[in-house]
Amino acid sequence: MDDTTRRELPPAQPGAPDYPTLLRTASWDRVRQDLAPLPGGRSLNIAHQAVDRHVDEGRGEVVALRCVAADGTTTRVTYADLRRETNRFAHLLGELGVARGDRLVSLLGRQHEQYVVCLGTLKAGAVFCPLFSSFGPDPIRERLLRSRASVLVTTESLYRRKVAAMRDDLPHLRHVVLVGPSGAAEGPGLIGFDEAVARQPGEYDVARTEPSDPALLHFTSGTTGQPKGAVHVHEAVVAQRLSAELALDLHPGDVFWCTADPGWVTGTSYGIVAPLVVGATVVSFAGEFEAQVWYRILAEQRVTVWYTAPTALRMLMRYGTDLPRSHDLSALRHVASVGEALNPEVVAWGAEVLGLPIHDNWWQTETGSIMISNYPGMPIRPGSMGRPVPGVDAAVLALGEDGRARVQDGVLPAAVGQTGELALRAGWPSMFRTYLDDEERYRACFADGWYLSGDLAALDEDGYVWFVGRADDVIKSAGHLIGPFEVESVLLEHPEVVEAGVIGMPDELAGEVVRAYVTVRSGSTADDHLRRDLVAFSRRRLGGLAPKDIVFDEHLPHNSSGKVMRRVLKARALGLPEGDLSTLERQP
């Protein structure tokens, strides 16, 4: 750590407030006082803050969204347009019998309708649950079942490929709304988005939700069991807005591009909610990663604040310096990254090629907003995720023998420089309020008034936080959290597989990639033909969660209760000495 801290970079914006000033001046209470109240006192609705208040206060003609299609055509949507469109969608939900607190799942790409569906759902007082459109049918079914959503909004193509065949197995799903060309939604239980929305009135009385009412449901993965549904409430908007202002330097008039997919929490909290609450203009690009296209968007849209991920930045680095230098990136003022630890080389690359260092930050699905960050007025220590967002009380707690924070007889802070578990004092506004239908797992995340993140980190002598690794077996690939259990469960459904262990293998671009070790039933031949069959099977069922690599292994390591020990698999794969295995054989 010491070597790296010596290579501190000066603040990216020397005139911006330094960290002590932020601590002194910024607060959630100040944000609360600035929120626009709904008639009736205590009510708070994210969509009202994100859309209607701007129109009420005379900013209806400001462009809220610039939706850039894969072919480059751009659709502009003003705040006034967005108010009308979200009002209409909220009316449609009423017509469909959606009540306060009911859940709606969206399975859409980065497209105009995603914003309308999210914010219209919130206006109706219902709960918005986005799913990553690259999921295969199995992860989609699992999440639809767990959410008990009554409405799904998706495209005709995604519906046909991933949902239609299992529709009869989804008893709670009453309506499927299909976005896309008219006429696509023909069939029982299918509704065409455009036609259904167009006939609704453009005015709507926003639901008087309480700050503690559920608003967003994000599924996330753990080491064991199926995905957990983290529930966030309308009050989350307080922390989302303050963190956007401080960590993303986002203000009215900014042109903001968050490259995360709305199927993951970053794409919702910072792709949809926070920038609109701030009153910025959001750029949304529907296409896939392509370096030339990304630089063109930054230049042509005159993006001022850019929030992206380490994997994308590392891919851009491979293209060298000519490409960015042939684009006019002079509008850019602040660049931030989240998803996995950002290596110092990327921070330096930003400073050299973009003229701006990359500001790393850290948070999780459960935290609802950025918790630890670098700021434009604070020196950067490349490789560090920065310091807590003002208001957030973060600590690194000493570890027990199980490799997690030691909680018996109260928690203890780890010494400076020592690895411990990163923890947050419970009670910040965007803290998740439960795991849907799993209060027990929720409670297990807390000890002594602290939320235990499952991430290992260390503090340096000045309070900068340095990421070390995960305390559990969850895999982080290209910024996506993947639960090994979910992948193993699908592999076990293959008739030739009797056992599977799934781990993340280090990868220079994606951080980690998913590798599966499988034992096949006796009499079955572990050959290339079967390997390909397993690859095809898992891609078909899991989509983007499927392993990139499948290895046959007749002797998977087990613990005394017969469970496959992923940590031993990983130690073997990485060639760690036998002596290290004991420390890796931690049991939850």
Partner: protein, 81 residues
């Protein structure tokens, strides 16, 4: 490389990544990444397979030329000429 050889090389590389892809029935001008749901890592694997099997150097700036089956074939034919 003949167009036939190039087509076989491209098809084999895709099948390596998506083994049940019906490459013969595949629309030759459709965007590969969308049609086969290739993520960024899959696409890089595709690039590496083409590069090693056709023994051509593929620079990052060439990636847009690998957008469809047809354009990938044309690229390989041109690079191996």
């Amino acid at each position: 490389m003949t167009p036939q050889d190039a087509r076989r090389t491209v098809a084999d590389a895709l099948i390596e990544i998506v083994p049940d892809a019906d490459v013969d029935a595949f629309p030759a001008s459709a965007p590969l990444r969308e049609e086969l749901e290739l993520d960024s890592l899959d696409f890089l694997t595709f690039v590496e397979l083409l590069s090693s099997r056709a023994r051509v150097r593929i620079d990052e700036m060439d990636y847009p030329r690998l957008a469809t089956l047809d354009s990938s074939v044309a690229f390989l034919v041109e690079q191996t000429a």
